[in-house]
Every structure is written in C-alpha cells, then in structure tokens.
Amino acid sequence: MAIEIQPERADPTGGGPAIIGAGRPWWRRFGVHTGLIVAVAGYFLGHWLGNFLGGGYFRSSLADTNDVALVLGYAGATIGWLVGLGVFNDLFLMLAGKPLREESRLLGVQEPGPAKYFRYTLDHKVVGIQYLYGMIVYFLTGGLFAMAIRSELLSPTYHLMGPEQYLMVVGEHGTMMMMMMSSVVLGPFGQYFGPLLIGSKRVAFPRLEALGFWLTVPSYFILLSAVLMGGFPTGWTGYEPLATQATQGEDAYFFAFGLMGISMILAGFNMIVTIINYRAPGMRWSRLPAFVWSMFTVSFLQVLAVPVLVGACYMALMDRTFQTAFFTNQLGGSSFLYEDLFWFFGHPEVYILALPGFGIIAEIISVFCRKPLFGYKVSVAGMVGVGLMSFLVWQHHLFDSGINPDMRPLFMLTTEVISIPTGFIFLVAMGTFWKARIRFSIPMLFALAFYFNFLIGGISGVFLSDVPADTTEHGSFFVMAHFHYTIMGGLIFAFFAGIYYWLPKMTGIKLNERLGKIQFWTMFIFFNTTFLPLFALGMMGMPRRVFEYARSMETLNDWVSISAFCLGVSILIFVINFVMSMTFWREAEVGNPWRARSLEWQLPTPPPPENFRRVPVILASPYDYGIPDALPVADFNPPPGVIGAAYAPASGRVEG
C-alpha cells in the first residue's frame, strides 16, 4: 500500500501532475454522497444479517429488538460508508490486478475548490482542515448537551427532562467530549502541522491518516443515534453490569467508542512513523518543536492504551449480543475486569487529551515572549514522563471500589509522582516568562488562561490522589470540576489558542481580533465562575450525574447554570466570529503575523501542495529568539547534493 515518495522535481515552477478530477462532475466521483448511500445500504444489509443470524438471541425479555441486528447494522453502515467513500478503491484495483490510477495517489492534493474536503483524500493538509471542521462540530454538539444538563440542574427536582432523558444527555455529553475531543488538537493541528514542522512533504501513511478522520464521522453519528433509542444510562464510563442491563442505546455507545478508538490508533501509528522517518535532514530530536514532541508522546499513548478500550468495547458488545459473560459476575465474569480495562485506557486517555495542549502552549509562549523556550529538554522530559506515568495510575479511579485495596498506597504514590513531570511544564513556562517581552495576542491570552486553569485542575488532582480526601471527593462534583479544569480549561483553551494562532496559516484568513478578545474574556471568566463553585458543591456532598440534589444547594447550582449559559454564549461568539470571518469578512493574512521562527511560518500561505519544493535542511532550533545573528531555521533551497549526503550512510557503516 506504500506510496512512493514524490521525486524531486528539477523544475521548481511546476511540472506536477495535472489538476485531477477535471472533466468529471463531483457527483460522479466518490465522496460523502456516495458514502452515505452505500452506508444506508450497508446498515440494512447488516441489520438483515443480524436478524437472520441472531434472531433467537434476545438478551432480555424486556427488550423487543435484537442487539445483534443493531450491531451488525452499525458495522455494515461503517463498512458501507468507507466503501462508498472510495477508501478501498486502490485495494480493489490491486486485487483485480489492475494498475493504480495516477490520480488516486494524489487525490485532493492539487484540486481547487472546496469539493476535496468532502472526499477521502491523501493530503495531510486537507485532512487537517477536515478534522478542524469536524472537531468544531463535535465540540459544539457536546456543548449543547452540556447546556441541557445545566438547564435540568436549575432545579433540585427533575423538571425539564425525565431521568432517562437526563442520563441520555449526560452520557452523550460525556462521551462526545471524551471520545471525540481526544483528537481535537491531534486531528486538526497534528495532521496539518506535523509534517510541516518536521520538514516533510507528506505523512508516512496518508491512507491511514485519512481513514482516521473518516472513521470519526460514523462514530459521531452512531453515538448520536443512541438518542433515537432512549440513550444509554451509563455515562461516558459504560460501567458493567449496568451496561449489559441497558437498552439498545448502549450498543451505539460501545460501537461508536470502539470505532473512535480505531481511528485514534490509526492516527497514532501514522504520526509515530512520520515523526521518526520523515524528519528533514538536520531536524534532530533535539530540534524537534515541543508541539511535535507532544504529538509523538500522545501517539504512543494512543497506540498502547486505546487497544485496551477497543478490546473492552468489543467484549462488552459480545456480552450484549452473543451472550458471552466477560463482565457478568453471576456467570463467572467480573465487573471489576471492565473497570480495570476501561481505566487502563481511561487514564492515558486524559493525558491524550492534556498533552497536545502542553505542546501548543509551549510553541505559543515562546513566540509571544520573544524568548527561547526555557529548558527545552525539561519540557520534553515532562511530556514523556507524563506519558509513561499515565500507564501506572489507573487504579486511583477505583480507590473505593474494593479492588485490591492493598495497592492503594502505591497508586497514591504514582498519582502524586505524575505531578512532578506536570510541574516541568510549569517550570518551562515560568522560565520562559522570566524577563520576557510579553505580547498579549489572543493566542497568548488563551495560553495564560491555560496555565491558570491547569494549575487549579492539577492541584485539585493532588487532593483526589490522597485516599482519605478522595473518600469524600470520589464520584462527586469535585471530580467533575477537576477534570473540566484540566480538559476544558486545559485542552479546549489550548485548542482555541491553536485556532487563533494557526488559522491564518491554514486558510490565509485571520479571525476578527475584537470578537476574539471578547470571546476570550467571556470564556475565561465564565469558565471559572462555572467550574469553581462545582468544587464546593462536590465537597458539600453532591454526587455526579444526579438530577436531584439537596434543596440547600439550589442557589449555587443556579449560579453555575447561569454561568454555564454565559459560557455557551462565549462559544457562540466564537462560532459567529469563525463563520463571519471565514465566509464574509475574509480578512487576509498571508505573511508571518506573529514573526514566528518555526518552520511552518516560513512557507507561503496557504502551503503549496507538497509543502516544500525541495526537502529543506534544518539549520537551527525554532526557538532561537533574541539572538541577533541566529541562523534561519532552515535552508529551503539546499544546493544539490546536500540532501543526498545527508541521507547517505556514514562511511564505515556500509550495509553488507
């Protein structure tokens, strides 16, 4: 399946393949429209097959439909979607022994117009833009569910929704945010800027990369389809045996989460191989931008942790369809097994969410402090350390569960130790700010807010690591506030910092600055007024995921709900800014507005189809600010022979 590296072209002005797709209208080519048609057909085929195979398997007499049919329907729809998109076209051609068409290798690379964004394309920049729009849609969907939750919690008894709808909304919000947002930075910015930052013309596995994005679409819709079946009552954790007992919405949850897991694994593989193998000459590990390091670490977490989740989802689906009993205590399984599998994935997952934020913010503070990143190696060690440690702490989610309680001191220790590498991130920031020339651009404001929020999130995490204190805080709103501070306050703030920072490079269009500042201040203030009181509510004894609470907590809950609506308004301001800037105002920004040194900003905007006309030779670190005679970061037009020499084996190490 490998694609040959595009050969160096002697003629710098062009000579690439002709613009493809010309001559055929969009509806006669593979795209989302064909994908949709085949997906619907695939669903019905799978559903029929499920009824045929598993018609006798009724999990529970309470359910009047067949889980086997539903799961196979989802599987059929997913496969149909991919076939309809043309994901397997080359595979089919190869199986048929026919030569691949030239255009299939370059799908989307040079095609003008927006049609390429609706197709399975092999250009990492197109995939990055697809991810950007996809993630914004997923984020807004999850956010709307959050608004619904806070509306319900305006009153201490249930009033807007019944308990079933409430849990549906809670589960959809949690799962949407936790599973889809794991790619919120890795997707748009990792895929788009990963190759640019390492001086590569392409990613290692463009097909896997594109597949990774196109799998998020069915997982999004399958997860949402649970709404049609009354949702799922388990929240985003899907604990067994409640999940076995639940109605069909649970199938959607497990299938969608597993599918998203596959997407994360594929994206991780591609990123690891790209970063290892496709760095330009001179891009040593010690010159790799911090953002690329964060992508690298996160990719390892994805590749190593997410398969556990996919396995758990698969086992749970088997429990629900073919009546295996992995997680049913009474039949020889164990509900502890699910808790262990889930959190063995779940704790690395929260660092999958947090680490890309660290990376983006490190890039941004260096640029806007006009200083080199303080302690670059410490920063890398922090990210790698957090990544390693994240595999050793999962039992702290289960301190009260009764699983192996003798290990609690150990997991308390590992959990507290993880704050040491996290502290590196703060050390790097504080060193970088020392005697800096701080520019308060919008990305920098978001970066500053990131440190504020993540500080509170991190310190509250230490409270949770202490077993006696955790006895009060576990399963309460305190935990909820804690991870919203790290994930929303950390990752999502970093995501917005990334949008304001990199959108001019991705699209050549700048977002409106005034609206951006309004968005930042409303978001920062209302984020804190929303989630700070939740620490207090948790400490006062309010458990998570309840629709009823003590009447004495009503005032505080109302305050939180109103703040949350204002937080929603701040996101709405972003949406208005984004839509208006991208479609109507279109304020062009094609230069290097931040005067950044890093590689991507040295390219024309938007970057040419193959990123670099020639493979650049990296000469210096991207962080050499403040040095008057600093070398440029790269030589973009290296004399012939340099690249060959760089790639040649050192003398004396001849293969043979």
Binding site: S60, L62, G162, P163, L167, P233, T234, Y239, E240, P241, Q245, Q323, N329, Q330, S335, F336, C369, K371, P372, F374, Y376, D400, G402, I403, N404, P405, D406, M412, L413, E416, V417, I420, G423, F426, L427, M430, G431, F433, W434, K435, A436, R437, L448, Y451, L455, I459, V462, F463, S465, D466, V467, P468, A469, T471, T472, H474, G475, G541, P543, Y625
Partner: protein
C-alpha cells in the same frame, strides 16, 4: 513552593534591574503564611465532611493539610504569572526580543527537588492517614488489611468494645441495611450507635452502586457478588444522609435515604424493636439467609417479585417487594 526560586537564580546577571527574585520571594512568603493561617484556623473547622465520625474527621484533617500544602504552590505560581504580566509585558512599540535564556540547571534542579520533596511528603502523609484510621472510611474489599480495633461478637451489646456489623445492600434504586447481630433484621433507615466501631459490609444485588454516607465520611462501592468492607466510628449523635455515588441507572439521582446516629442505649432499643416486629410479622423468616456476600441466584424467590432473565436481573426486577422490609 520553590516557584520563587526560579527568578532568584536566573537574576544574577542583571544588576541594574530590580531584584525580581527577592521581591517575588517576600510577597510570596507573606501571602503564603497569611493564607495558611487563614486556612488552618478559620477554614479548617468548617471544612467538609465535618467531624461526625472518626473517618470524617480524618478526611477533614487531610483536606485541611492538603490545602495548607497546596496554597503556597498556587500562590507562588499565580503570583509569578501576575508579576510577569505586569513587569515584563512588551511596552507599545517594543519590537525587540527577550534575552536568549535557554535554561538554567540550578533553577531546574531546585524545582525538581522541591516538587519531589512535596510529593514525598504527600505520599508519606497520605499513607499514614490511610493506615492509621483503618482505611479512612474507604471501601477496602473483602479482606481489609487496615482494620479497626473491636471484638467480633455474635450479638452486640451497648457499653462494650463490640464491633457493630451492618450489611449495606444496594439495589436499583434503594439501600437496605441488615443487622446480623440482631437476627438479620433489615431496615431502610441506617441507625447507628455512637462511639462504637462499625464495620460496613457493602454489596449489591444488581449493578455497581456506591454507598456514600457523606457526614460519616464513608464511601464504598457496592459490587454484585463482592463484600466491600469499610470502617468508621460515629463520634456525635444526629442525622445523616446516604446517597449513591456511582451511576446505577435512571433513578440513580433519587437513590438516597437517611440514618441517625443514636446513643448506644437508644440504638439497642430501636434495633431490638425492629427485630421483634419483623419477627412477629414473619418478615425475618422470609428474608434470604444472611451471608456476607449476596448471590442473587440463590436467594429464594419471594412470591413472584423476582424478574430474572438469563441469570441477570432486568431493570424492572427487584428482590423485595415495596413493603419488605418493614420500615419501622
């Protein structure tokens, strides 16, 4: 804590500038000491979850100690950022770069040693606080290693050092409490004697619940087929509420009831009264035999109330009718 050391060491070369390090350090010391004093002397007595039981008091102590440890860190980092924003912001028209400082081994080493020491302190403190108060009210699984002192006796009598055993049974969506030392009588009210070591055996009949007596500082997951033990000693009389803190289905939010800590003699009277009442009504005879773990498949069917499908209890299934056990 050592946040303020960061500037102190990096400051050496810039003599005409104010001594940022000393400035930051002195503001930090003043603010931290003030914050810690306020936390310890003003806030601590009001911190959750109160002092109603031994485990609640130890949790309150932990939260207070952690707050005192965390306050200087939070203050140090925030102070530094505020200072940086004020002092080192780029003035209008300033297009220059900052000094190219790539790192400082001394600062980094100080920071790493400092955070490691804090972590070491937290770990030792947390472990002591876990072991000494017998698991600090958290569920310890079927064979706890951190045990509360007390004698196991077949019958509980006031005034002695007898451990009171209470079995907490979670099911969708209610809590039932069983007192094996009182003939296995059951109640939906968790009444407990004061100043008595109490051993909770938490289990579930269907899905995972979590037994949370907030004011008692007890939290233990109720897993089907698992006996999860937690200890506490109530120190004051009064009412408290029990909630479920693990999502267990649609009525999770409504799964709560309450209990009272009574004087030992009042508890004895209440428990014996419920026992004889349930005995005379035939409820005790109808209940399944007492076991530290419940296996729903062997509970004798009580009339036609059990709904079982493939060995799993359906969402609509329940083991006891709404009238059983009798609420005294």
């Amino acid at each position: 804590m050592n946040s303020s050391d960061t500037p102190a060491a990096a400051d050496a070369s810039a003599s005409p500038e104010p001594r940022h390090g000393w400035r930051l350090f002195s503001i930090w010391i003043v603010l931290s000491v003030a914050a810690c004093l306020v936390i310890w002397f003003v806030w601590y007595p009001h911190m959750p979850p109160g002092r109603m039981s031994s485990s609640a008091a130890s949790e309150q102590f932990d939260i207070a100690v952690l707050s005192v440890s965390a306050a200087p860190v939070i203050i140090g980092v925030l102070l530094y950022f505020v200072y940086a924003i004020v002092v080192w912001r780029a003035r209008p028209g300033d297009e220059g770069d900052g000094p190219p400082i790539y790192g400082n081994t001394k600062v980094a080493a100080t920071w790493i040693i400092g955070t490691t020491m804090i972590v070491g302190w937290l770990f030792i403190f947390g472990t002591v606080e876990l072991v000494v108060p017998a698991g600090a009210g958290a569920g310890e699984g079927p064979s706890p290693i951190f045990k509360l002192a007390g004698t196991q006796a077949a019958a509980w009598t006031p005034g002695g050092s007898d451990m009171l055993q209470v079995q907490v049974i979670g099911q969708q969506w209610m809590w039932t409490y069983r007192y094996p030392q009182f003939g296995g009588m059951e109640s939906t009210v968790l009444d407990l004697p004061v100043n008595t070591p109490i051993e909770f055996h938490v289990t579930s009949l269907d899905v995972i619940h979590s037994f949370w007596a907030y004011k008692l500082g007890v939290k233990a997951d109720a897993n089907p087929d698992v006996d999860n033990v937690a200890y506490t000693t109530a120190k004051a009389t009064g009412g408290f509420e029990v909630r479920c803190s693990e999502l267990c289905g649609i009525w999770h939010g409504a799964m709560y009831n309450s209990g009272t800590v009574l004087s030992q003699s009042a508890f004895q009277t209440w428990a014996a009264g419920v026992q004889s009442k349930e005995h005379s009504e035939g409820v005790l005879a109808a209940l399944p035999t007492y076991a530290l773990t419940y296996d729903p498949t062997v509970i004798p069917q009580l009339g036609k109330n059990i709904v079982q499908v493939d060995g799993i209890t359906g969402a609509a299934g329940y083991y006891y009718g709404s009238g059983d056990p009798v609420t005294p």
